[in-house]
């Protein structure tokens, strides 16, 4: 099948799943969810890795742009996940949590 068609199919299905998975979230968790989905939205770092990792044949300007992008992207990923975890660790119940 045409790779472009596959890409479109994947895009549409991912949108549907994204719409469906966040349903009726209690306001208590809005901030954690915003912070955690922000961490996930840092996924574009993947592209920065691929472009920044190009060898000597790459365009110099492109390489410089990609390295700057990679630095911002890594700060975004690491900062995003750690701050989300730091915040979520604060949530405690007054009843002891049942061990699964």
């Amino acid at each position: 099948m045409d790779p472009v068609i596959i890409a479109l199919v994947l895009f549409v299905f991912a949108v549907i799943i994204g719409f469906d998975v966040i349903n009726k979230v209690p306001p208590t968790l809005h901030t954690p969810l915003v912070v955690a989905s922000h961490a996930m939205a840092a996924i574009m770092v993947v592209s920065a890795i691929i472009v920044a990792g190009e060898g000597a044949e790459a365009s110099v300007l492109s390489k410089v742009l990609a390295v700057v992008a990679l630095l911002l992207g890594v700060i975004n990923v690491v900062g995003g996940y750690l701050v989300a975890d730091r915040m979520l660790a604060k949530f405690k119940n007054s009843r002891p949590v049942k061990k699964a």
Binding site: P3, V4, L10, F11, V12, A14, V15, I17, G18, F19, V21, N23, P27, T28, L29, H30, T31, P32, L33, V34, A36, S37, H38, M40, A41, A42, I43, M44, V45, V46, S47, I49, I50, V51, A52, G53, E54, S59, L61, S62, L65, A66, A69, L70, L72, V74, I75, N76, V77, V78, G79, G80, Y81, L82, V83, R86, L88, K90, F91, K92
Partner: protein
């Protein structure tokens, strides 16, 4: 050393990331599993990053390693150094970085193609170069918009620029023209795909960057203080969508799937938040969030001689007689750093067998759910934090409501006054409680800029003090009774 994964195998790894993200998001919708959900999504992110490291063409591992070490150190220091009150700013600036990454990578890819021809693209993309050019246009547009929008949000939350909503005349016309201009430039770029080296392509790209910058500025400047959280959620969604668009520039299925997933869930989250404070979702997308502030009949006339001010000792006596107490925290509590003192009062009251709950309005604090985080930080159990509907059920039969630095969210004008910016916003019905105690530094208005007739009600008593010393005095008086 060249270690590369077959692209077909890569897709499978990216699929692992998607599954981790989907279940991570699901787990994040319940407080009990939220932390593990974030960990799971972190594992998914790690899988995606490792997969990218083994892509074709990636050879310069030295550069990547150095940037990883430096970036991780900066990210970790930021994450642990910030005060939890500053989370909204932190998210805003980091999300701006995400938008910048999308835009920078898009520009870098286009530059490579302009310099070296379309042979730098993958075989699939060489057959459809117009898709590449179109995707670069969309990606750099959304990325730049996200960057500037997030930066303005950061500047407003950090107090670097005024939090007031600033609206241009004919804002909608201007925004529509900016959007239209971007569509035209992206179309021109796409039509030029057969001539990748043409310098005019660079002109089109710069045009897109400029228009996206202007649109980011006008959209975000038009948003005022209390509505900032919603625009942040929206820009997170845009960051996800920009990642999806970036995925289309080189048919990276992983990026396409994850970008679409995060973009869509972010939009739903934005809509949920908007609904919680009765704002129109489409209005938000178009930047029509904060209604203009009306000048309501002079606050002095409303309050004149009708305010009953009292002492912390009297508050303590009233609490002693109460069986059920509902505490309504607002951003003033966080500003005064009084969460710990608030917990002391909570402990004293519950030790005497009184029923104490916290009523959390959806926009209390700076971000929906922000207040919950600040109270959780001082060990107040989350099942004592009630949401709007539960709070109002509790308040209907409650002896005492204590308002701590909240204002607009308890303003009864939201029910009746059509010409005020808060009209229609669901509020906490604190006026239904038998006695209302308000701790506030002064009679200054909240974000909305309008006076609050709650303060002149017969059953309202006010204590004009900073929340922290006021609570400390109440706790002391309560203990010594």
């Amino acid at each position: 050393m060249e270690l590369h994964l077959d692209p077909k195998i890569q897709i499978l790894f990216y699929l692992v990331t998607v599954v981790c993200f989907v279940f991570g998001l699901k787990m994040l919708t319940s407080p009990r599993t939220a932390r593990r959900g974030n960990l799971l999504s972190g594992i998914g992110m790690l899988v995606a990053i490792c997969t990218a490291l083994f892509s074709f063409g990636v050879v310069d591992y030295t550069t990547i390693l150095i940037v990883f070490v430096v970036g991780s150190a900066i990210g970790a220091v930021l994450a642990y150094a910030i005060d939890l009150r500053a989370i909204p700013q932190m998210v805003a600036i980091l999300n701006g970085f995400g938008g910048a990454v999308s835009a920078l990578v898009g520009v870098a890819e286009l530059n490579s193609v302009m310099e070296k021809g379309i042979s730098t693209l993958s075989a699939d993309m060489q057959r459809t170069p117009s898709l590449f050019f179109g995707a670069v246009g969309v990606d750099t547009f959304i990325g730049t918009l996200t960057f500037w929008g997030s930066m303005i949000a950061f500047a407003k939350l950090q107090g670097l620029i005024s939090e007031k909503a600033f609206s241009l005349p004919f804002k909608n016309v201007i925004n529509s023209l900016l959007l239209l201009g971007t569509v035209v430039l992206t179309a021109l770029l796409t039509l030029n795909a057969s001539d990748p080296g043409n310098p005019i392509n660079l002109t089109y790209l710069i045009g897109i960057l400029v228009l996206a910058t202007l649109l980011g500025l006008t959209l975000t400047m038009a948003v005022g203080g209390a509505d900032m959280p919603i625009i942040i959620a929206l820009f997170i969604s845009y960051a996800g969508l920009s990642a999806g668009a970036l995925g289309f520039t080189n048919l990276n299925y992983g990026l396409i799937m994850v970008g679409a997933l995060v973009g869509a869930s972010g939009l739903i989250l934005t809509a949920t938040m908007a609904k919680a404070i009765n704002r129109n979702f489409w209005g938000i997308i178009l930047g029509n969030i904060t209604p203009p502030t009306m000048v309501v009949a002079g606050a002095d006339d409303i309050y004149a001689g009708r305010i009953k001010s009292t002492s912390a000792e009297e508050f303590a006596m009233i609490l002693e007689a109460a069986n059920s107490v509902c505490i309504v925290p607002g951003y003033g509590l966080a500003v005064a750093q009084a969460q710990g003192t608030c917990r002391d009062l909570y402990n004293e009251l519950t030790a005497d067998g009184k029923q104490v709950t916290f009523a959390i309005h959806p926009v209390a604090g700076r971000m929906p759910g922000h207040m919950n985080v600040l109270l959780a930080e001082v060990d107040i159990p989350y099942d004592k934090l009630l949401e709007l509907d539960d709070s109002n059920a509790f308040l209907g039969d409650c002896d005492v409501a204590i308002i701590l630095g909240a204002n607009d969210v308890v303003n009864p004008l939201a029910r009746t006054a059509k010409d005020t910016p808060i009209y229609g916003m669901p509020i906490l019905d604190v006026d239904k409680a038998r006695t209302v105690l308000v701790i506030k530094r002064s009679l200054s208005p909240g974000f909305s800029g309008i006076p609050n007739p709650l303060f002149i009600n017969d059953n309202t008593l006010m204590l004009f003090k900073d929340a922290k010393p006021a609570l400390a005095e109440m706790v002391k008086a309560y203990r010594e009774r």
